[in-house]
Symmetry: C2
């Protein structure tokens, strides 16, 4: 606790500069000196002072995870913990730390963001699934600040990592079609989120590909929450003819839909079938177990960190990565 470069240098009988070179793997150090210095470093468990190093390198070795207020209500989704797991591991492996920027209001968001950026507290940001019209992203672009978005963004300057939501939704709906359903409804997410748009697009593509009619009334907007799914399902159950299957754009909404169906006295499955999206842990435990679409969330987090670090350290160009998803067929 409390050694400095100077101390290590003295103990190893060299200068501060040499110890610094050893620490940073500079080539021009005689091997035996290098070893002698490492010896001392290991022995006393020396770690360079983060702030001092940041000050000199103009790098904080910290990344930030931004969760805008618009999605912070979804924060209790298991999506975020998994994302964070993927991100922290990738960060630590590269010598970075991960800090949280959780906004509860636009005002708080603006203030915190300003502080974060202009105090040089973070080298780059990962923005978790903002709404498409969130002012956050234009602002970061304007500032030229390195960031990666989780979830696609139309602007070509934006790096992002996304799951193939279109394909996932298509697979889910095709599955329903193969099971013989023809009156298939969907409960979408908030339509200002890319994931919601893409899942709806996948639904449309699947119907079109099989030549099924597209009934506007069968498309109801939800908000990715259980309660929203329930409300949307109640609306669907009032239709004539009633849909026999529903593709919910999230498992939470699928659970709400199931509840609504049961409350209406319908047998599930039997009179109505529901599939979801996300593969949250509960999905397997529902009665009946939910067929759903699994995204590689941990990988997405890790990849986002990788892209961001490349951007920060080597000024890499914007990259757009879409990862494949997987249909998980269960009881329904």
């Amino acid at each position: 606790m409390g050694y400095t470069l100077e101390d290590i240098a003295r103990m190893a009988g060299v200068s501060r500069s040499t110890v610094s070179r050893v620490l940073n793997n500079h080539p021009n150090v005689r091997p035996e000196v290098r070893e002698r210095v490492w010896e001392v470093i290991r022995r006393v468990g020396y770690q360079p002072h983060a702030a001092a190093r940041s000050l000199a390198t103009r790098r904080s070795q910290v990344l930030g995870l931004v969760i805008p207020e618009a999605v912070s209500t979804l924060f209790t989704d298991p999506f975020f913990p998994e994302l964070i797991r993927g991100m922290t591991d990738a960060c630590y492996a590269r010598g970075y730390l991960l800090t949280l920027a959780l906004f509860q209001s636009p005002e708080q968001g603006r203030r915190l963001l300003h502080r974060l950026l202009s105090s040089h507290a973070v080298d780059g940001l990962i923005v978790a699934s903002a709404r498409l019209n969130d002012p956050l992203i234009p602002r970061l672009l304007e500032d030229g600040f390195p960031f990666v978005s989780i979830g696609r963004h139309p602007d070509p300057r934006v790096s992002f990592v996304d799951a193939d939501n279109v394909a996932g939704a298509r697979m889910a709906v095709e599955y329903l079609i193969r099971r013989g359903h023809t009156r298939i409804a969907t409960i979408t997410g908030p339509m200002d989120m890319a994931a919601a748009q893409d899942r709806l697009e996948g639904y449309r593509q699947a119907l079109r590909a099989r030549g099924l009619p597209l009934d506007r009334r069968y498309i109801v907007e939800g908000d990715f929450t259980q309660e929203g799914g329930r409300a949307a399902m109640q609306q669907l159950l009032g239709l004539q003819p009633r849909p026999t299957a529903v593709f919910a754009a999230s498992d939470a909404m699928a659970m709400g839909a199931l509840k609504a169906a049961r409350e209406a006295g319908l047998r599930v499955p039997g009179e109505v079938t529901v599939v979801g999206f996300d593969d949250i842990p509960q999905a397997a435990y529902l009665e009946p177990p939910l067929t759903t679409v699994r995204q590689p969330i941990v990988r997405m987090g890790a990849l986002a960190v990788q892209l961001l670090v490349e951007q920060v350290e080597r000024g890499a160009q914007p990259q757009r990565v879409v990862l494949p998803v997987e249909l998980v067929v269960r009881g329904t």
Copy 2:
């Protein structure tokens, strides 16, 4: 982007020192000068360079949230997001940032912790519900490093914030007793966690207080997960006489228990009643809605930050806070 103290000083026609004094609210600055300096600071949106300040003050203004590997499997619980919400807000309000230390293995944990501590990257840590025998806490104590535990710890030198698990469990079991149950079983958490011990203790107290017998076979250890709850319930259902009610020490386990009961062909409620603990969002949506115990998680997070900051900034003595919980009676 990129003003320094020097720049501000020049623009305001004063010296670096004076600007520093203004920023840090030192008393001895003439009011008109102070105002003139603030003027400039606001106009250009100046923020001091975090690393430079840290280097000089020997404070990073960053707190860390440690999630030991033992509980990182529970990370998908809604418990953590809520805790984090409470913590981030409290941090921002005090000018701190929150960084994550998520361990996936003891080895990774040790390394990261060493790096965190000796690089002065964080001023203090909040340790999320470690197991009682986790070597983490003795180590922090030995280093004299400021930290607060979420969940009680026997060592008197440890500051902690905890929910009143004993009372919560007692309330849940008393509720079952009032409903006329006499054969009440419990599914506990891992017994090396304080919360699990305390909830079991509450169960015991309730039975004892009402003069009900304590049947060892009615106490089965789970692991706080849904699957663990299911397995434990299967064991309970094999007993003669079968318990008519079960207190599960977590909602996740309660859900697993419900599933096991249904798989065994039992009516719920009716042939068996289940209550839980935690009040996770799904609890209200179960069929039937789950009676459970709610902890003030957000407040716990905020309070932990407050205690930690007092410890860091004013060297406050260890404090132990236990917050009241609330029984949420639902359908069961």
